[in-house]
């Protein structure tokens, strides 16, 4: 069965809203009927892409409030709490118990409630004499954001900065990695299967993978394991790997350029240009008093339930405009047909009046029945017309098509620094666009760019008014071969002296001594699927891993099997049908799309890939993080 992370999370949330019983079972004397939902900021983000207020009402939630708001008592109603565990949440819940705000309390924590917090909760409840009001306490393992069936985010901002900050302390890094592991564990617990974990050696990816392996082992040995298949035998190699998915974990430095590239397909464009967040886009629509020229922000929701978004999300922008026109024409034709059949006043004198009346009423009835569907379709078309119009405006204003075309050429190695300089000195695009172009050139050069060329680009960027800190950071990373197309361990060894002291030791521990080894050979395999389509480096790596055949590029990857005894070596694996690809440090729609495109076209059978990241970053946010790292690194 294909992994549908969003459906699994939605089912779990619905079950939670029905007080952790099946939604079909009738309520116990009306207890299940109406409830109040209490959320915190983290769980609000979890629910936002899944359920609307109308959906909450359908499941009996009459009111949803935040944990930290000033709430009044509603004495005859049960409250469903869905919060992240922590001292603050525990304190608030105990305060609510003391104030007897609700009739009963169904406590649901988004990750595992630590023992210490459970004790604090019990102590607080016992002290207030309100323990009897606590009906249930559950660990839901839902602390991740499922945006689509095959796309999720852990909602952890600035993880890339936390893990690459040369001045960060051990405790901070451990804390950041711990958060990633706990939330990634929630994702795996939702799928109910124990994956086989592969990752490049060294770096944050291996750190996360090893801690995750330990976490899964601990869960498997607990009674009432969260994994459906328990801690049984691993099974035969081929059969096991066919059913168990592959979890491939990569660090963001594996390929940085994809985070900065300009996109040309619909979903990545909307995310990049219009600032989509949690499947919502807010645009300034003309509104207010006539003649005032004011713009009212308008929010649009885009998710898998939107027929246009799911059907055309991967298409290139010019095709989107055509599709919008086509859908609009189809809608108009349907409406005309409806009007013609329902409102026809042509009286045929020879026709039987009874037949005429029957025909008219039948047409009216079908018109009434098809109205809601047509209305919904029109709403969707209007929404995408708005989005496409805003995108078109941005594309024309910034010349994004030219940036995209040039970056495609740079990635394929067909263009050089002169074209980049020409563009940087031109008038098209914002300062950020130019910086992104320069960084894409820097990071995708087949060989390390010459210092003179870098100086020229930096001068052009400074002249354009760009913030060159991000450039400086990326340049240092490239110089040290910590990212980019060709890297070698020798170059990395040379670069170790730059940091010095504890930071150096930390970075070395994080990055490992062989970070990036093998990337050059992988990127040589970057293929052009179709004209203008490049595969991301992670796609090439995942393809090699899922094939299960010996491949020098990925054979050196670390291997973790939580079901196998500790110390046992890697078993021969057959091809994988399903994979979860996770980027530590952030991901984006462009990379997700590259994976999905490859998966759907894979031979002999299409594969199923779920893509996730610590957060889905826009290129601007990535630039900010690179700038922040440059500042912290003293650049």
């Amino acid at each position: 069965m294909a992994l549908n992370i969003r459906q699994k999370q939605a089912d779990a949330v619905v079950r939670m809203l029905h007080l952790n019983s099946s939604p079909q079972s009738t309520g116990r004397g009306g207890e299940d009927l109406y409830k109040v939902l209490i959320l915190d900021a983290a769980t609000q983000d979890v629910l936002a892409p899944l359920l609307r207020v109308k959906d909450l009402r359908r499941h009996g939630v009459t009111l949803h409030l935040t944990l930290d708001s000033n709430r009044q008592p509603i004495p005859d109603v049960p409250a469903v709490y869905f919060v992240a565990p922590g001292p603050h949440s525990t304190a608030r819940i105990v305060a609510d118990l003391a104030a007897s705000l609700y009739d009963s309390y169904h406590l649901n924590f988004s990750t595992q409630l630590p023992r210490k917090e459970l004790e604090a909760l019990a102590e607080g409840a016992a002290r207030e004499g309100s323990a009897a009001r606590v009906a249930r306490v559950h660990d839901q393992y839902l602390q991740y954001i499922a945006l689509e069936a095959g796309l999720f985010s852990l909602g952890l901002p600035a993880t890339y900065v936390d893990l690459n900050d040369p001045s960060a302390q051990d405790a901070q890094i451990q804390g950041a990695v711990g958060l990633v592991v706990e939330r990634l564990f929630c994702v795996l617990a939702s799928t109910g299967t124990v994956p086989i974990i592969r990752c490049p050696r060294g770096g944050a990816a291996e750190h996360v993978a090893s801690l995750l392996d330990a976490r899964i082992r601990e869960a498997l040995h607990q009674r009432g394991s969260v994994f459906a298949d328990g801690a049984g035998a691993a099974g035969a190699g081929l059969a096991a790997s066919l059913h168990r998915p592959l979890l491939a974990i990569f660090d963001r430095n594996f390929e940085l350029s994809v985070m900065l590239q300009h996109a040309w397909t619909y979903k990545p464009l909307v995310h990049d240009v219009l600032g989509m967040r949690l499947n919502r886009v807010t645009l300034a629509a003309p509104g207010g008093a006539p003649g005032a020229g004011t713009h009212v922000p308008k929010t649009f929701e885009v998710d898998d339930s939107d027929f246009f978004w799911s059907a055309h999300g991967r298409e290139q922008f010019p095709k989107i405009a055509e599709q919008v026109e086509a859908e609009l024409a189809r809608y108009r034709a349907a409406v005309d047909e409806l009007n013609r059949s329902a409102g026809s006043n042509v009286l045929d004198a020879a026709a039987d009046p009874a037949d005429l009346m029957a025909g008219n009423t039948k047409h009216l009835m079908s018109a009434i029945n098809s109205l809601p569907e047509l209305t919904e379709r029109k709403r969707s078309i209007d929404k995408h017309t708005n989005l496409a119009t805003h995108l078109l405006g941005a594309i024309k204003e910034r010349g994004l098509d030219q940036y995209y075309a040039l970056e495609e050429e740079l990635t394929a190695g067909k263009e050089h620094v002169e074209a980049v300089l020409k563009h940087l000195q031109g008038s098209q695009g914002t300062v950020t666009d130019r910086l992104r172009l320069a960084l894409v050139w820097l990071l995708t050069c087949p060989t390390a760019p010459l210092e003179a060329e870098c100086e020229r680009v930096e001068t052009a960027l400074a002249a354009a008014g760009a913030d060159v800190r991000a450039w400086a950071y990326a340049r240092r990373m490239r110089r040290m071969n910590l990212t980019g197309k060709s890297q070698s361990s020798a170059a990395l060894a040379d670069g170790r002296g730059v940091f010095g002291g504890a930071a150096q030791a930390q970075l070395t521990t994080l990055l490992g001594s062989s970070f990036g080894q093998g990337l050059s050979s992988l990127t040589k395999g970057v293929k052009n699927l179709l004209a203008g389509e490049q595969q991301a480096a992670v796609t090439v790596a995942v393809e090699a891993l899922m094939e299960g055949r010996p491949n020098p590029d990925v054979d050196g990857y670390a291997y973790f099997d939580p079901k196998a005894p500790i110390g046992s070596g890697p078993r021969p694996q057959g091809p994988f049908k399903q994979a979860i690809v996770f980027m530590v440090g952030g991901g984006n729609f462009l990379e997700a799309e590259s994976l999905q495109c490859w998966a759907s076209r894979a031979q002999p059978t299409p594969k199923h890939v779920v893509y996730g990241a610590t957060e889905l970053l826009s290129p601007e946010t990535m630039l900010e993080q690179l700038s922040a790292l440059a500042v912290r690194g003293g650049l």
């Binding site: 779990a12 109406y34 559950h138």
Partner: protein, 356 residues
């Protein structure tokens, strides 16, 4: 589904803490019992009423689910049973709708003293909205079932009309036979007239005659049924009735089958027209229902828009207040500045006079 229930651990810890705090072991159980009683006692009239309506709607949905296959498929349920089902569902829907309206009015009149907090009001408004939406979804499902049933009835009616309009080849020849008889006779003949010997009783006469006429077209070269019938009638009549009075009786006898056939045909046409009218009325009723649902949906949207407008008005009011304060503060500042400038000018003039 991945959920870990840690309630037993929680209860264990509570018991341990309570024991440490000096409470007795049995207090936990008595607290739980007290909680149960408190829950039951805390239910307000509103909640009880809302729960009642929700149970009614759930019962309606269950009722629909149980009967949906029989109702939607023509043939599984007779028309009378279908009508009865529709009547029952209609009455339940009306009752639920009226109850929801009453709850809504209760909200608008104001909360009872003691529970008037905004959260309580918002919760109750949410409950009423949830009930309306649930009822709306149930009636929409019922409308779909009804539309399916109507569609099948209509198709059946169309098939029947086609069969009547185009009788089979054997019937086709009987029709002109009866028509010619009707033209010739024009009188009324009771098919089951026991006075006519040889005719089967209980209304089979006419049909039997038609069937007899129907049998004749098997060989189209045979004599037309009218002659056959006339021959038959004549033969039958002639064996029974005597001379002049009998001739009149013979004529009457000849007219009766024709008249009965004509009457039968008229009745059949009338029945068809009535059935069509019934179907049209049902469709109009269905349309009415669909229009009501669409209007209710729009009403809901209008209400939502209204609520948004009210909120926006509130924001505008607050903004106006802030603007007023800003303007007042600005005026105050202007006055202060003016006074300061005046004083400064006077001070300068005074100092100039002093030094001169």
């Amino acid at each position: 589904m991945v959920v870990l229930d840690v309630t037993p651990h929680f209860r264990q810890l509570v018991e341990q803490r309570s024991t440490q705090n000096g409470a007795q072991a049995s207090q936990g159980q008595s607290q739980q019992a007290a909680q149960l009683l408190r829950s039951l006692a805390a239910r307000t009239a509103f909640t009880k009423a809302a729960n009642e309506i929700a149970h009614d709607i759930t019962a309606l949905r269950r009722f629909l689910r149980v009967n949906q296959y029989a109702y939607a498929q023509i043939g599984r349920m007779s028309e009378a049973e279908g009508d009865r089902l529709e009547g029952e569902i209609g009455s339940i829907v009306r009752a639920c709708s009226a109850n929801i309206q009453r709850l809504h009015s209760l909200l608008e009149e104001g909360a009872p003293a003691g529970d008037g907090t905004p959260d309580v009001a918002a919760h109750r408004a949410g409950a009423v909205l949830a009930l309306s939406e649930r009822l709306g979804a149930t009636t929409a499902a019922y409308d779909r079932l009804r539309a399916l049933r109507r569609q099948q009835e209509e198709q059946l009616a169309v098939l029947r009309r086609r069969r009547r309009a185009k009788p089979p080849a054997c019937d086709g020849q009987a029709a002109p036979a009866t028509a010619s008889l009707a033209v010739a006779g024009g009188g009324h003949v009771a098919p089951s007239d026991p006075a006519i010997p040889g005719l089967p009783p209980d209304g089979h006469g006419g049909s039997d005659l038609r069937q007899r006429g129907a049998r004749t077209p098997l060989s189209p070269l045979q004599a037309p049924p009218s002659r056959g019938f006339a021959t038959l009638g004549h033969a039958e009549a002639s064996t029974v009735l005597p001379s002049t009075a009998s001739q009149r009786q013979q004529q009457v006898l000849k007219q009766r089958p024709a008249e009965s056939a004509a009457l039968h045909r008229e009745l059949v046409e009338l029945s068809g027209a009535v059935a069509q009218a019934e179907a049209s009325v049902r469709e109009v009723a269905g349309l009415n229902q669909a229009f009501s649902a669409a209007v209710a949906h729009q009403t809901g949207q209008i209400e939502a828009l209204y609520a948004e407008a009210v909120r926006a008005t509130g924001h505008i009011g607050a903004a106006n207040m802030q603007l007023g304060k800003t303007v007042a503060a600005g005026k105050g500042a202007q006055r202060t500045l003016l006074v300061f400038m005046l004083l400064a000018t006077l001070g300068l003039v005074f100092m100039d006079w002093w030094h001169s």
